[in-house]
């Protein structure tokens, strides 16, 4: 493996790691409106949060088992689909997570600002 491709693989791994935590947040935010799996995936992709079904469906199941989502099977366009929506508990957790997300963003900005000053 060349140094360039090693570096690309490393960046890709770190990028995935960075995104993994924010996926839960993105899914919870998006499920403030009801979606079934495929439309949720499309909606997230529209905002640049591509997520494959192998990651999304297990995540939805986990969030549901944690009580943050509710789901129901319903027929739409002559096909049975499972619709997901954020639960009441989910909304409370989402509020806390968004606050935490903002704190992390602000902290990171401060650190960046500080290090920019330092490096000058």
């Amino acid at each position: 493996m060349t140094h360039g491709s090693q570096n690309d693989a490393l960046v890709e791994n770190l990028r995935l790691e960075l995104r993994r935590g924010s996926l839960v947040l993105a899914v919870l935010v998006q499920l403030r409106a009801e979606h079934y799996g495929y439309t949720l995936r499309k909606a997230l992709a529209q905002y640049g949060m591509d997520i494959d079904e192998g990651t999304l469906y297990p995540l939805l199941r986990r969030l549901e088992s944690q009580g943050l989502l509710v789901s129901e099977w319903r027929e739409e366009d002559k096909r049975n689909k499972r619709f997901y929506k954020i639960s009441r508990d989910g909304k409370v957790v989402l509020k806390q997570l968004l606050a935490e997300w903002q704190v992390i963003g602000q902290s990171l900005e401060e650190i960046l600002k500080e290090s920019d000053h330092g490096s000058r």
Binding site: G37, T39, E53, G54, Y57, R79, K81
Partner: protein, 336 residues
């Protein structure tokens, strides 16, 4: 849609029984929506190759199913480093010595019986692999059981920082070791001078053992090495840090001692044995057998000496490459 059904069936095989139907229904819906979307984009039905490409993009069935399964490991992250450490210990202190001893025995056997190398290697594989397999398998099983116990009882989470071992300095010489070395070398010197000075080394209760004349050289050489080792260990006792000078002296002493020891194995050192009321032919046979077995042990002696010399050489390398805090602590006493 034949390909999609076949794909879903393959995924279904790996899923947990209770969730099979639910997960497959959802995956099926996702796949069919995806295909419909593509068909709307293209304005026509997808052909088999296009569906195959789309399924490939979704991932291998077993991997897709795996993401729905609870994440389990045979040995978890808490125990894994300990497991690897135990395997290394077993490899270093059981398997490697086992291989070295085997090499020694086989080299000796090949030299004496003319057995071919291929026969020896075949014999090695047939005995080594089952031994290694059961050893590694046994350790893995023990750790897998410990993992299950640990998951339930969390016994590894109970720990006290005050019980951690003190900081270890690899270049520090244990005073206890130095004392043992001094005493052992002195005892050896006394035994040499007191009991091995003459060629007839044992004359007791009708048993007489006489060594060959070459013993005289071994006597003086072993005595010189033992005295050098006693002095070196005494210095280590008062200056308990390895310096490269003292580590080199230890290497030289051990090299000389090793050469002497290996040579002794081949030197037919027992000249004669006599026992009252036993025929001289019989005692001659016993003396010959002792010398023969001693010579047979020559490869093992070489392996043992090689290990000792390697350890000594590594010590010099460690001291010279300034590894460990010992060098910093030892700066003031760096010259012997």
């Amino acid at each position: 849609m034949d390909l999609v059904d076949r794909y879903l069936q393959a995924v279904k095989f790996w899923l947990p029984k209770k969730q099979k139907a639910d997960i497959i229904a959802e995956l099926s819906e996702d796949l069919r929506s995806h295909i419909e979307d593509r068909e709307t984009e293209l304005g026509r039905k997808l052909n088999d190759s296009e569906i195959a490409a789309l399924l490939k993009q979704h991932g291998r069935p077993v991997l897709v199913a795996n993401r729905f399964l609870p994440q389990e490991s045979l040995i978890g992250p808490v125990l894994f480093p300990i497991y690897v450490f135990v395997l290394k210990i077993v490899a270093a202190f059981y398997m490697v010595p086992w291989i070295l001893v085997w090499i020694g025995i086989e080299v000796s056997r090949a030299a004496h019986s003319g057995q071919s190398l291929i026969t020896s290697v075949a014999a090695f594989w047939t005995t080594f692999w089952p031994m290694a397999f059961f050893m590694i398998g046994g350790i893995t099983t023990v750790f897998a059981v410990l993992e299950r116990v640990q998951t339930k009882s969390r016994f590894l989470e109970e720990w006290d920082p005050r019980k951690l071992p003190p900081v270890r300095d690899p270049n520090r010489i244990s005073r206890a070791n130095s004392i043992v070395e001094v005493v052992a070398n002195l005892v050896f010197c006394i035994w040499l001078i007191g009991g091995m000075w003459y060629q007839t080394v044992l004359h007791f209760s009708g048993l007489t053992i006489t060594l060959s004349p070459v013993w005289r050289y071994f006597f003086w050489s072993f005595l010189a090495v033992a005295i050098a080792n006693t002095i070196a260990s005494a210095i280590n006792l008062f200056r308990p840090y390895w310096t490269w000078v003292r580590a080199s002296i230890r290497l030289v002493c051990d090299c000389v001692g090793s050469v002497l020891f290996c040579w002794l194995m081949k030197a037919n050192i027992i000249a004669a044995i006599s026992v009252v009321n036993v025929a001289p032919e019989k005692t001659a046979q016993i003396a010959q057998a002792i010398n023969w077995w001693s010579a047979k042990m020559f490869p093992l002696a070489i392996v043992a000496c090689a290990v000792i010399v390697t350890v000594d050489a590594y010590r010099i390398y460690r001291v010279r490459s300034n590894a460990g805090p010992g060098i910093v602590l030892n700066a003031a006493t760096s010259i012997c």
